[in-house]
């Protein structure tokens, strides 16, 4: 790869990084306290995509040490990702019950 090509590649990554910061800020700038916990939990699950990185290094890994560490990373990342989405869904499931009870409570009072 030529030096100039490398540079433009790095610049593109930098641009992606900076634009992502702004998107991240913008997307959650208005959120009610009620949703803080599920939002945190959902964001937590999203960074579980480190699983992709773990799979890539597990593919490259050659020595026993490297393989062991990489496989451990795959396990941890999977727990983070899968567990994270499931637990967030469980939290939000309970919110869903709320809108149902809204209608039901009509004859309560």
């Amino acid at each position: 790869m030529m030096a100039s090509e490398l540079m433009s590649n790095e610049l593109a990554l930098l641009a992606i990084f900076i634009l992502s910061i702004f998107v991240g800020f913008e997307v959650v700038s208005k959120v009610s306290t009620t949703l803080h916990t599920p939002l945190m939990s959902g964001a937590n699950a999203i960074h579980g995509v480190i699983l992709v990185g773990a799979i890539v290094v597990a593919d490259h890994a050659k020595t026993t040490l490297e393989i062991t560490l990489a496989i451990a990373a795959v396990v941890l990342a999977t727990i983070n990702m899968v567990g994270g989405f499931v637990v967030t869904d469980r939290m939000l499931q309970m919110f869903k019950g709320k809108s149902k009870s809204k209608k039901e409570s009509g004859d309560d009072k």
């Binding site: 910061i21 599920p38 995509v49 727990i79 567990g83 869904d89 919110f95």
Partner: protein, 461 residues
């Protein structure tokens, strides 16, 4: 699979993540948002198998698949079975293992970096190891605190501030050593110091502030994922990690604001405040303890009653019983509302989730700003297993760990009833003066038992 196609599908996954965060910011779309996020993650995971080794089966593929299956077998039941009360620590734990995974990825990548690696890549690798380790050990400590496997109070020790600063210097210096020398020993020392720093960083944080720290560590993990995306030249990891890092930072600030705390004060408050040694004194002042019948009579003749739920409600799983009581009171013509403190329980929104599970009508859940002006017109406030969120010390005692946190002004009501297990102070470990006020009645016992007794007594009246 060509690089272009891989990047294109990766872009699709990245869009899923953006939509997920957007969806999670609004109650209506939250659940769908989470599912879209899960879809994005699944896409990203599946396509890497077709790309990483030029379309051939991956090296160690069987091991990788077994590891994923194992992770699913561990993660899903944990997430499914966890009690509502323990969700915060589970999120902390998931965040910790994510940080650990990122650090491991960076370590393996470091071991394979040849001479040719650019300085920028080495720096990003070291950054991932450092922050991933901090996130891992810090999250484990928050887990231990929330699970009450260790003290929930700020842990302050002699020369704590000096030790933590020295550790931080050690982390930075050893990080520089790794970058200059490329030695594995240096990386090992750097990782260990980072783990130590994570522990020291979280130890002095008081119990009530732990959710803020979880959120911050969550943002940290996001940044490590972004950095490892740079090292591995995977755009998707950069986008996903940065999104979580940025939104996590904003969310941390929002949470701190909801608690009326500055982020700085939360993280470093324990260093600047004196160790609150006076909390350990056993207070021998008399309290007025009542029976379930007393409480029932008080409620029966009230015009307006406000229920303030706290972590004790969650522990006792008393959300259904409390609803039964509220319905009974409403049938007797008492105006009932729930006063919801934004951080009651162990996480923002914890009480909303819990009461929603018991189908409490949404209109009855009143947020702090709206309920506070109504307390002077309230006859009885029933505090169910809450303490810190109604503790006047937050207003009156500068230097106490919760000073400055907005509270529910239950002291303005005519009568206050506390359902408590014991005289033990709340999560933050601060004495509550309100317990000794003449207008306060205490009903000791498990919240569910006490509520059941009150409901029984009320039915007889």
């Amino acid at each position: 699979m060509s690089r272009d196609l891989y990047d294109l599908i990766g872009l699709l996954a990245a869009v899923c993540f953006i939509l997920a965060l957007k969806g999670l910011s609004s109650p209506k779309s939250a659940r769908r948002g989470n599912l879209i996020g899960a879809l994005g993650a699944t896409i990203a995971t599946v396509i890497v198998f077709f790309y990483a080794n030029n379309g051939q089966a991956l090296n160690n593929q069987t091991l990788i698949l077994a590891a994923i299956a194992f992770g699913v077998v561990v993660g899903v039941p944990a997430a499914r079975k966890v009690q509502m009360t323990q969700m915060p620590q589970l999120v902390a734990l998931f965040n910790g293992v994510g940080g650990g995974a990122a650090a491991l990825v960076a370590i393996v990548e470091y071991l394979k970096l040849g001479e040719s690696a650019s300085t920028a890549v080495v720096v990003a690798t070291v950054f991932t190891v450092i922050v991933g380790c901090i996130s891992f050990s810090g999250s484990i400590v928050t887990f231990l605190k929330l699970q009450e496997l260790m003290t929930t109070r700020p842990v302050v020790f002699p020369f704590g501030r000096q030790i933590i600063v020295l550790t931080l210097i050690g982390v930075v210096v050893s990080g520089g050593w790794v970058i200059n020398s490329g030695s594995t020993t240096a990386l090992l020392i750097n990782g260990l110091l980072s783990l130590l720093f994570g522990v020291l960083f979280v130890l002095p944080v008081g119990g009530a502030d732990v959710p803020i720290v979880i959120s911050l560590l969550n943002a940290f993990t996001g940044l490590t994922v972004a950095a490892s995306g740079y090292v591995l030249e995977t755009t998707l990891l950069i986008v996903a990690g940065t999104l979580v890092g940025a939104s996590g930072t904003i969310l941390t600030r929002l949470m701190a604001e909801a608690m009326g705390r500055s982020l700085f004060g939360t993280l470093f408050g324990a260093f600047t405040a004196k160790a609150s040694s006076d909390t350990n004194q056993v207070d021998t002042r008399p309290v007025k303890s009542g029976s379930a019948e007393d409480v029932a009579i008080l409620l029966n003749y009230a015009q307006r009653a406000v229920i303030v739920p706290g972590f004790g409600l969650a522990v006792a799983q008393a959300q259904h019983t409390v609803r039964e009581l509220a319905d009974l009171l409403a049938a007797k013509g008492v105006e009932v509302a729930y006063g919801i403190h934004p951080v009651a329980g162990r996480m923002p929104g914890h009480m909303n989730v819990l009461l929603a599970e018991a189908n409490v009508p949404y209109e009855q859940l009143v947020e702090m700003e709206e309920i506070n002006p109504t307390f002077p017109q309230t006859d009885v406030v029933l505090v169910v297993g809450a303490n810190d969120v109604v503790n006047p010390a937050a207003k009156t005692t500068p230097g106490c760990p919760i000073y400055g946190m907005p509270i529910l002004d239950v002291a303005l009501a005519a009568n206050v009833v506390f359902l408590k297990r014991s005289m033990r102070p709340g999560f933050a470990g601060i004495e509550n003066e309100l317990l000794y006020e003449p207008k306060t009645t205490l009903l000791f016992g498990d919240a569910k038992d006490s509520l059941t007794k009150v409901v029984g007594a009320l039915k007889k009246l």
